[in-house]
Amino acid sequence: MSYIAEILPPLLQGAVVSVELFIITLVLALPLGLPFAFGEMSRFRPVRWICKIFVFVFRGTPLMLQLFFFYFFFPLVLNIDIPAFPAAILTFVLNYAAYFAEIYRGGILSIDQGQYEAAHSLGLSRAQTTFGIIVPQAMRVVLPPVSNEAITLVKDTALASVISMSEMMRVSEGIVNRDYNLTAYVVAAAIYLLFTFLLTLVLNHIEARFSTYTRREN
């Protein structure tokens, strides 16, 4: 027990870094996914292809490899220094934006053509149709898969340990190696579980609020 009390403060410090990474990634990647989603459906071929390639690359390669790229390779080529935290943020935001873009695209495509026709015949502009009619409905559709990704992100933050960022995983690893005692892993696991549990509660609450109307008419 006293051992746990001893290792808890550094673990919690690591947990704070993990949470920061989690929150900053979500706050930036959630909106960034939208322009990529629209880009993938753009009428302009170059825009469409750039967005498709972006999504293809970031979904098609391991997150760990992307971390290495932005932490080791990218600074080398550009001859600049990128510390671990910003490198991790950059990687996570781009990676998650790619996943969100695909989810958003699916959500937008799921909206009935009749909604566009009704908006058109009322004289709504493209922007009014998109942001007043389509996106609010698509949001409901994408909420469950986005929630899923958010929970995956909690666990993915542990990957940042590979570029020596002192988030919770790295901290617990350090303690285990130092003390030859696996307790730190168990405590870290408990903290991750607590995160995902709290997150699930929040997400359920949001989903309940969005379900004031059901998905489709007819």
Binding site: Q115, E117, L122, I133, Y213
Partner: protein, 255 residues
Amino acid sequence: MSAILEMKNINKYFGDFHALKDIDFSVEEGETVAIIGPSGSGKSTLLRCINCLTRISSGSISLNGTTFVDTPSGGEAKYIPDKALKQVISETGMVFQHFNLFPHMTVLDNVTYAPIKVKKVPKDKAVARAEELLNLVGMLDHKDQYPQMISGGQKQRVAIARGLAMDPTIMLFDEPTSALDPEITGEVLSVMKNLAEQRVTMIVVTHEMGFAREVADRVVFMNQGELTESGTSEQIFTNPQSKRLQDFLSSMIRA
């Protein structure tokens, strides 16, 4: 009387398929016109050309004095710029077979959304007008409900109010009762009949022969992309000229 809608020499191709063939069609102010005809004859296509949901291949259309699409001889149909076109489109109201209400908005918001956003009507005025219209279609009591909480007939009545809220010069109905259970088509038809009596200009694509006969000032019959016959409901139903129309009418009676 002046034509509020004038369509001349309308042709529409979907790829190689000739969906509308040299159609001349006009509607006078205050008139109720029913379009009847077999499935696939081009009724919806014709209606959708009026508010540009479908763009014509050639011909010209004028609505309320504005010619928004015209075709230079030998050329392709040319539409006026988008902004002006939007203006024309917002002068039409459309009611769809599947209602197409906005499910994330209450009944009231469905009706006020476009007037506020497109016509920049102040919110209180838009709400007052919407309540008036919802009252007209008998849906005022349901104004705070979401579309999935009301029946099909009620949805369609809200959709009619939504269309009317833009103060359109013409209302377009594409089989407004076809998705409804037979026992509730009446509530929608009676709202439409009421509008016709108030001289709202309307075009109604319908399979409801009783409605066409009783309410329409004029009935046009379409067949295979052509406007085959046109006349008063009396002429069309009691004295059909073409064989196709005679066959169609007898098939509708049997059905």
